[in-house]
């Protein structure tokens, strides 16, 4: 009997403890916040930053005496197509994730279709930390005079030179140190670059077709060469712009490079690992890549970057052209949801995730550039040589692709024409004529053709 009483008492105590725990845990509303991101293995903080923010926000609410619970459900995607199909179809089905981490070029079509809401309706852009974000990045996340997203990172697509080969064709250490400035001022152009690449090949430093290697797949990087010859993607009034002269010069540049033998006519399609492998071991004279690839080169490929590589903007093409680089920031977007409270929480999470110390975790872990001035002073960021040196050389001169509903179509036509000319399927004139016909047919008065 005594035994029974003891057992009952123990059970009652256990039950009380459990229920009180449940009551405690049940205090305040619970929010399920889902975050879908385009993220490779080194981009864990795209979702991770939101998780850290959730912890901080729960504490803030508890301190304020209004405890809440936030459960973050993260879903990383590595493939763009799959990611976009997933997000758009989920949104059509009414199950869109609360927060999406995507490229800024998704803003225009998603805003038009009502999939996303302007983030400025849910965050305070005039308060810290958002008021410290680089203005040009916030410009990139604006569309139709509204801020639709908060930049999650920044990057840039620079031009690289293999230092030992540059020295072998006559450049001194001082020349190399001043090269980035010569590129910026327009004293070193794409023509000079082709000549140097040819010299390297003639000297036997690199094999034929390996003087100059740009990105081996379709990508926004190629717009930099259009801009290098004076091209603009949009006119001043938000309409897409095809500058035929610049586009032709840009196509011609790649045709010339093939004829000169510094690049292969079937360079597009080179597997990424072959590309990384060649340029990190001095088999390529000059190349154009992305700032974030630094992590891969120095990590997986064991490259001694600073001993071997110099970097600059992409050189201008002479004449009207200008040295430039492109940034395609990933951004935090908020989707349309029925639960306004949850949307408010999502906005607060994005705000906290953009704090310098938290954002620096992603920047350094994935070799991206920071988003705010204060981030430059965070120890982790300031202590990293790559971001410290790359940020001032590249970021102030970075432009971005326009947020325009029809830009995606323009992109595909531009790249189709480039490939046709580059591989010799069409002459440059034929390619430009077809690009013009195609843009007129597909976009009508939504594009200005000069």
């Amino acid at each position: 009997m005594k035994h029974l009483i003891l057992r009952s008492a123990a059970m009652a105590i256990a039950l009380t403890v459990m229920t009180s725990g449940a009551v405690f845990a049940g205090q305040g509303k619970t929010y399920q916040i889902s975050v879908w991101a385009i993220a490779g293995p080194s981009d864990i903080y795209r979702i991770g930053a939101i998780e850290i923010a959730a912890d901080l926000l729960e504490r803030e609410y508890a301190v304020r005496g209004e405890p809440i619970h936030i459960n973050i459900e993260g879903k990383p995607y590595t493939q763009q197509d799959e990611f976009r199909q997933g997000v758009t179809l989920a949104a059509e089905a009414g199950t869109a994730p609360n927060i999406v981490v995507a490229s800024h070029i998704d803003i225009a079509p998603w805003a038009q279709s009502g999939l996303i809401v302007p983030v400025e309706d849910y965050v305070d852009l005039d308060a810290w930390p958002l008021n410290d974000i680089y203005p040009n990045l916030l410009e990139i996340t604006s569309f139709q005079d509204q801020v639709w997203a908060i930049p999650q990172d920044a990057e840039s697509r620079p031009f690289f030179f293999w230092k030992p080969h540059m020295k072998a064709i006559g450049y001194s250490d001082d020349d190399l140190a001043g090269l980035a400035e010569k590129v910026r001022s327009g004293d070193y152009t794409l023509t000079n670059m082709l000549e140097d690449a040819k010299k390297m090949q003639d000297a036997g430093l690199v094999e034929a077709n390996k003087g100059f290697w740009p990105r081996p797949t379709k990508g926004p990087d190629y717009w930099m060469f259009y801009m290098a010859f004076g091209g603009e993607m949009e006119d001043g009034n938000g309409r897409l712009l095809l500058d035929k002269t610049a586009m032709a010069a840009f196509y011609q540049f790649f045709v010339d490079a093939v004829e000169l033998g510094v690049i292969g006519k079937n360079h597009i399609g080179t597997p990424w690992d072959q590309w990384h492998g060649a340029l990190t071991t001095g088999k390529v004279g000059m190349w154009q890549g992305g700032t974030w690839q630094f992590a891969e080169w120095t990590g997986k490929y064991g490259m001694d970057f600073f001993a071997n590589a110099a970097f600059s903007l992409v050189p201008g093409g002479g004449g009207n052209g200008r040295a430039n680089t492109l940034t395609q920031p990933l951004v935090y977007l908020m989707t349309k949801q029925d639960d306004e409270d949850a949307m408010g929480i999502a906005g607060e999470l994005i705000t906290i995730a953009s704090e310098p110390r938290i954002n620096a975790l992603h920047a350094i872990n994935s070799a991206h550039l920071g988003i705010s001035k204060a981030e430059e002073t965070v120890g982790l960021y300031a202590g990293d040589r790559w971001t410290r040196e790359a940020t001032p050389v590249l970021l102030p001169f970075a432009s971005a692709q326009p947020n325009n509903v029809n830009f995606g179509q323009y992109f595909e036509v531009m790249f189709g024409g480039l490939q046709a000319a580059w591989t010799g399927q069409k002459t440059v004139d034929e390619a430009i004529a077809d690009v013009e016909t195609e843009l007129k047919a597909a976009l009508g008065d939504k594009i200005v053709i000069r």
């Binding site: 079509p109 005039d126 072959q274 906005g347 992109f411 591989t423 077809d434």
Partner: protein, 463 residues
């Protein structure tokens, strides 16, 4: 095809002479007449959901301008920079566009009341009314700065946003569910529209998709459409004739004359590519062909510079694509043809041997005539499957070099589901696939005519 009069006597014996058709009405299903239908009903649901519905939707989508930007489920009416651009350029309504895109946020009684109803902080709202009533701002952030200046300012961003959301009096960047709602809002904003302007606004402000035949016009106008069509026909018929039917016949006939053991072995080998995962299978071809691959290594000593052999020229790319597809495709025909040859009564072969027929004559006079049905089946089946298959091309060349190997199905996929800039053209992609369906049906009808389908299915004359 063989004319009956030219056939030797042993070849004219009809297989169907041995079969008997039961007299009509002899088989009575009775009460179970509808059982089959009931049993198939669940399958019917799936057939409808996964086969019929997508085809119908594709047909409908093909006549729309649906894209990522328009959404699938429908749109809204919105005044924005994007919608005002055509209002200016097409309708010349510059002044109207300027007035519509004006932003005004006014602290008024209606807004204060709405803010209270939305759950805004009462003290803050009262103070806002006291200090800022009837003041206007050109940005919502202006209202928020005002709210933040209050002594009773809400402590959270959400608290501020709940209040600031209630004072917008302009129509720009607001999504309206219907045209009527938009027009009411415009009228409330103090802009009177004439009939032409109302009509124009209805056209340009809608963000959703509309029905149109523009996709087909665009298709005809685009310079690459005809090239893609020619690519498709070349790809389908070359692969079909050389491999899926031609080589499959060669395999099945040669293995027919082999002893059972080696014949089975050879057939199994030819099945291997089919059971290899496509991604790995194509990857092996890529390793073979790329500039540090097997071909380059073997050919370099012979004076051929290393290169990406697959993408080196359109001719190379086509050779690889046809080999990649053909080697997989031949195995299916081989299986069907082999089993059909097995079904030919041995007596025919024995009789022909007694008459002194050689292997060639046996193939020509016995095997091929008996294979008309399977050849028709394989030809139609493989044509349709080649028309719609693009996975090996996508993995191997992605349509390269320079679009030289872009076939219709790949082009459809790229337009509808793969766009680097995120502008997926669902409507145009659907229109492209609709054309593919029409091509498929036309080609099948031509085959039926060519193979004389009516005669093939005619009731046996002896019966």
């Amino acid at each position: 095809m063989l004319k009956p009069s030219s056939r030797p006597h042993w070849a004219t014996k009809s297989l169907s002479a041995d079969t008997k058709t039961p007299p009509e009405g002899e088989i009575e299903m009775g009460n179970s007449k509808h059982l089959g239908l009931w049993l198939l009903a669940p399958a019917g649901v799936f057939v409808f959901l996964f086969f019929l519905a997508p085809v119908i939707l594709t047909g409908v989508f093909g006549f729309t301008n649906m894209s990522t930007a328009t959404g699938i489920t429908g749109g809204a009416y919105m005044i924005s920079d994007t919608s005002m651009r055509p209002l200016r350029s097409r309708y010349g309504e510059n002044e109207l566009a300027d007035r519509l895109t004006q932003k005004v946020y006014t602290i008024d009684d209606a807004g204060l009341k709405a803010a209270l109803e939305a759950g805004g902080d009462a003290a803050a709202i009262a103070e806002l009314g006291d200090k800022f009533l009837d003041q206007s701002f050109d940005r919502r952030r202006g209202v928020e700065t005002a709210i933040k200046s209050l002594s009773a300012r809400p402590s959270t961003t959400r608290g501020i946003k709940i209040i600031s959301a209630q004072f917008e009096r302009s129509v720009v960047n607001v999504r309206f569910d219907s045209k009527e709602d938009l027009l009411v809002a415009i009228s409330d904003f103090g802009i009177a529209l004439n009939e032409g302007q109302t009509e124009a606004l209805g056209q340009v402000a809608y963000t959703g998709w509309t029905f149109t035949t523009q996709n087909f016009k665009t298709m005809i106008e685009l310079p690459d459409t005809s090239k893609t069509l020619i690519n498709t026909l070349f790809y389908v018929f070359t692969t079909l004739i050389l491999f899926n039917t031609g080589f499959a016949l060669v395999l099945s006939i040669t293995t027919h004359y082999m002893p059972a053991g080696p014949a089975g072995f050879f057939r199994s080998i030819w099945l291997l590519p089919r059971v290899t995962p496509p991604v790995l299978y194509v990857l092996m071809w890529k390793w073979l062909a790329w500039d540090t691959g097997f071909l380059s290594v073997v050919l370099e000593p012979m004076g051929f510079a290393p290169r990406n052999w697959m993408l080196d020229s359109p001719a190379n790319a086509w050779t690889f694509i046809i080999l990649i597809n053909g080697i997989v495709g031949a195995s299916m025909g081989m299986l069907i043809f082999s089993s059909a040859i097995k079904a030919i009564p041995q007596s025919l072969f024995h009789a022909s041997e007694v008459d002194g027929a050689n292997r060639g004559q046996q193939v020509w006079h016995i095997i091929l005539p008996q294979l008309r049905w399977p050849i028709l089946f394989i030809t139609i089946y493989q044509t349709l499957s080649l028309l719609t298959s693009f996975e090996y091309i996508l993995l191997a060349t992605d349509g390269g070099p320079g679009g030289a190997t872009e076939v219709w199905a790949l082009s459809t996929y790229l337009k509808a589901l793969s766009n680097y800039g995120g502008a997926l053209q669902y409507g145009y992609g659907a229109a492209l696939s609709l054309v593919l369906v029409i091509i498929g049906i036309s080609v099948s009808l031509i085959y039926l005519k060519l193979f004389d389908f009516k005669n093939l299915t005619a009731p046996p004359k002896i019966e």
